[in-house]
Amino acid sequence: MNRIAGYRPLYPGTQPELLHSPYVSSSKRAPTKPLVRMPFTLSEVTGPSIKPEQVQPKASDLTRQHSGEPIGERIIVSGRVLDENARPMANTLVEIWQANAAGRYHHNVDQHNAPLDPNFTGCGQAVTNERGEYRFVTIRPGEYPWRNHYNAWRAAHIHFSVLGPSFATRLITQMYFPGDQLLPYDPIFNCTADEKARNRLISVFDWETTIPEQALGYRFNLILRGREETPMEEK
């Protein structure tokens, strides 16, 4: 059989270290022994996919999941899922979840004393089109306090989860907003050493996707690990 084409190595410093002491929860949960490096096999270059019909078209509009309209500023969050070779990743699942405009999650563990919004659950799904594009309509999430350290606040963010074409390309990350004053103080945003890589988690305000008298547009591209060139067949 042919050798398996793997994925390009990750650029040093562009991914978080597992143990990042300013993020207190990592101290008891990050493994302490070195990861075991292994080659890509058929198991890792294949992976799950979902059928597009598993995702309802309305799942990408978080402002229309209830009888009334949610409180807050409507925004359009759109972008492309590409790989490191700039190939569009079509038909891949993109999932998001987020706090409401007041900075409260629709989750029983979130005890922040900001109001819940009966018209906002804060989760959505979309499947990318042939150009790798996705688009969500949602509400700009609020910042919120957490107990990582004294006077700790999370910068406003939206969680993103992408399956990608294989097990190897799985990605879960967070999208931030330009100009957020909390970014320098957020240990989760700052867990990655490489400043440029970190800053690519900040979405870009975009006139083109802004809808007049309706919603501001933000662009956020997601880049999945790229494939190495297919090795020659073994002689």
Partner: protein, 191 residues
């Protein structure tokens, strides 16, 4: 053109609202062949405390050893009732449980078949990226020659192998231990 892969971030404590719609703890659809197995375990942190806010994802081949994916071009039979994908959150006691079939052998990097195995991604608050690990099956004769198992120090290999549960045929116990002497082996993809 060359881009850089997006930086991972933690799933945080509230991922359930976004991820639960795709939960799947029974991978075995109608008419699927193979040996049924239920795998149960617990996720434990550095204090040995259960982790109630974790999630695992499963990826595996079917009983024939074929992945439901276009890059698996083997001539083995595909089964419509089996996608090989599961997503399972832990409960309040840090316990997860899923039912699947024992996968068949799939090709390995050394031209030999790999021992039957299940790929696992582990996600939780406190983990800045996912953790990648594997579940192997006890007493499988292929384990001794499995390429990936042989990359692991012999004394740590048992963390990757499910254990039979006395009096519960068809059930395996396999835990995710994040730290300590029994720390589970986690992998990094790419040599």
């Amino acid at each position: 053109m060359s881009l850089q892969a997006t930086t991972w971030q933690t799933v945080g404590p509230f991922f359930r609202i976004g991820c639960h719609w795709l939960n799947q703890d029974n991978l075995v659809g109608e008419g699927v062949s193979g040996e049924r197995v239920t795998i149960q375990g617990r996720v434990m942190d550095g204090d040995g405390a259960p982790v109630p806010d974790a999630m695992i994802e499963i990826w595996q081949a079917n009983a024939q050893g074929r992945y439901a994916h276009p890059e698996d071009t083997q001539s083995k039979l595909l089964e419509p009732g089996f996608t090989g994908y599961g997503r399972i959150p832990t409960d309040g006691d840090g316990v997860f449980r899923f039912t699947t079939i024992k996968p068949g052998p799939v090709p390995g990097p050394d031209r030999k078949d790999q021992a039957p195995h299940i790929l696992v991604s582990v996600f939780m608050r406190g983990l800045l990226t996912r953790l990648i690990t594997r579940i192997y099956f006890p007493d499988d004769p292929h384990n001794a020659t499995d390429y990936v198992l042989n990359l692991v120090e012999p004394e740590r290999r048992s963390t990757l192998i499910g254990k039979r549960v006395a009096g519960r045929p068809g059930m395996l116990e396999w835990n995710v231990v994040l730290q300590g002497p029994d720390e589970t082996v986690f992998f990094e993809l790419g040599l």
